[in-house]
């Protein structure tokens, strides 16, 4: 399958600080791709470059077979939902959404704006000012404002991070529904692995301006390539493989408590429904271990043996 968006040897910099270095990435038509990584890894910079808000130092960006590297943002047909939403404070919801269509002098403007407001469930708030809306509503306006332009690619910057837990779930479903209904290619930036795993068709894990791993959520979750990715997707214990050049990683649930060759002292325990979550101090460092409810419990300060079974570990290509 040929890529809908392709970045080749893309190098991005702010002044002399290089943020992204020689990055290659292909994005498929109609997929929902997540750019995942800690802050400063270059994910937002990459997104801004795709939008045309940042001119690459070198490398190229192609979109739908067209060379886009030096095309201004206004001509790219790329939508961006900003983290802060960036609504125009002086315009109503309707006019915010109609903004781009007015510039194009679209003849079916009213119908299209009303349709998209309906899609995001804001038809009743069309005459409100942005300041009168809740955060979740503002984000829907921002989404509608981008969608109404029928962009080839829709970029979303941390779309869920400013919402509370309930709205977050709602917005997840909403984004999936929008993508399913419109078939638009979506790229979203996040530092939250659970968001990326839940939403994306494919995930790009970024680190220090490079692609660390690219794969489906299942790949990333069960077969991280490095300690960095493993740590990101919930492997708490990562050790060098004594019989090879890779590393081994365990999730807290894979650590066996009460028996084994290692000794530790319980530092704390918290009850989490179907399991107890322990934190241990040991010679191997701090270990997190989950034990299902029903197993013998341990109190803080108690010395306890534990095991890191080799057959429960995931093999990583690299330790760090």
């Amino acid at each position: 399958m040929s890529d809908f968006v392709s970045l080749e040897r893309l190098t991005l910099a702010y002044g002399k600080t290089v943020a992204v270095e020689a990055m290659d990435l292909g994005i498929r038509k109609g997929e929902l791709l997540a750019l995942l990584g800690p802050s400063g890894c270059g994910k937002t910079t990459t997104m801004r470059a795709i939008a045309g808000l940042l001119t690459p130092k070198s490398g190229t960006i192609q979109l739908d077979g067209r060379e886009m590297t030096h095309v201004p943002p206004s001509k790219r047909e790329v939508g961006l939902v900003f983290q802060s939403y960036a609504l125009f404070p002086h315009l109503t919801v309707f006019e915010n959404v109609a903004f781009g269509l007015r510039l194009r002098r679209a003849s079916d403007l009213v119908a299209r704006v009303e349709a998209v407001l309906g899609t995001v469930g804001l038809q009743d708030l069309a005459d409100r000012a942005p300041a009168e809306l809740s955060g979740g509503q503002q984000q829907r306006v921002a989404l509608a404002r981008s969608l109404v332009m029928k962009p080839k690619v829709l970029l979303l910057d941390e779309p869920l991070s400013n919402l509370d837990a309930r709205l977050r779930l709602e917005m997840r479903l909403e984004l999936q529904r929008v993508q399913w209904e419109t078939g638009v290619t979506m790229v979203f930036v996040t530092h939250d692995q659970s968001e990326a795993l839940a939403l994306a068709d494919r995930i790009v894990v970024m680190r220090d301006g490079r692609v660390e791993q690219l794969g489906t959520p299942e790949d990333i979750y069960s077969q991280p390539v490095s300690g960095f990715v493993a740590d990101f997707v919930g492997f708490e214990t990562i050790r060098r493989d004594p019989n090879g050049d890779g590393a081994l990683a365990w999730r807290p649930g894979a650590v066996v408590l009460g028996t084994g060759p290692f000794a530790g002292v319980i530092r704390g325990v918290s009850f989490a429904g179907e399991k107890n979550e322990y934190v241990l101090d040991s010679d191997l460092g701090v270990i997190r271990a989950d034990a299902p409810v029903g197993f013998p419990t341990h109190a803080p300060g108690e010395a306890v043996a534990f095991d890191l079974p080799r057959d429960a570990a995931v093999r990583l290509e690299r330790f760090d």
Partner: protein, 259 residues
């Protein structure tokens, strides 16, 4: 109870000191007598009417109005882009530029007026009116930059980027989403600049020529010769004009937020 009383006593005395003289001016302006005095000898509107009959006041009022309006507009034309550049761009030499732009606040107006007279008007022969216009523009410029910068800082940068992604050019984004949201700040800067320029004395002290004088200078000149209440009447009228402008500004856009 006691501190309540102290509080109002302090406020009463302070406000009497600050506003009292202004009330006395109004009373003196309404005097029926021929000399400046308080309490006035009877009340009449004759001095208020006289103000409009004094030819030189009419002329210098026109000069001051022109200067205040066009000087402030020119300062905004220069100052808005500068404020935009200083708040939105990472530019080399931003600090020296800031310093140069704030210089007119630090340098006393009388010196500027003298310097312009001696090194601009006399050698190049430009008209006094042009020199006054340039001096007032320079004088208002720092206020324009400061007030507009302040309201620019309250405006998120990403709305311009959003506008560009929706099809605006760089300039289009500035005009369509930045300027409309700066309207309040620009208007506040205009009013502040207008009042500053209109009331300005020292800059214009040396810059006066045959038939070209700003109103405050003309008032001082008149006072030196006459001791009648017409200057009081004019002062009161001007004060009401300023108050009306500021009141309207506060009412419609919360002016004091910007100052």
């Amino acid at each position: 109870m006691n501190s309540r009383f102290a509080q109002w006593a302090i406020l009463g005395l302070t406000l009497t000191f600050l506003i009292g003289p202004f009330l006395i001016i109004i009373a003196a302006a309404l005097s029926a007598g021929n000399n400046l005095a308080f309490p006035p000898q009877g009340y009449s509107l004759k001095w208020v009417i006289k103000v409009f009959e004094i030819e030189s006041f009419r002329k210098s009022f026109g000069v001051s109005m022109l200067l205040a309006v066009f000087g402030t507009l020119a300062a905004l034309v220069l100052g808005v882009p500068a404020a935009y550049a200083l708040t939105r761009y990472r530019i080399p030499g931003a600090e020296p530029v800031r310093l140069v732009l704030s210089a007119p606040i630090i340098v006393p107006g009388i010196i500027v007026g003298l310097a312009l007279l001696r090194y601009l008007v006399i050698p190049t022969g430009v008209t006094i009116m042009l020199a006054l216009f340039l001096a007032h523009t320079a004088l208002v410029l720092p206020y324009a930059v400061r007030v507009v910068s302040a309201s620019m800082e309250n405006l998120r940068t990403d709305i311009e980027e959003a506008a560009m992604l929706l099809g605006c050019s760089r300039t289009g984004a500035f005009l369509r989403v930045v300027v409309p949201n700066l309207r309040g700040g620009i208007l506040a800067a205009f009013i502040l600049g207008f009042v500053t320029s209109f009331n300005q004395v020292p800059v214009s002290l040396f810059l006066s020529g045959p038939g070209v004088r700003t109103l405050p200078i003309d008032m001082i000149a008149y006072m030196e010769i006459n001791y009648d209440p017409s200057v009081a009447a004019l002062s009161a009228l001007l004060a009401f004009m300023s108050m009306a402008i500021v009141f309207a500004a506060e009412r419609f856009l919360g002016f004091s937020r910007y100052v």
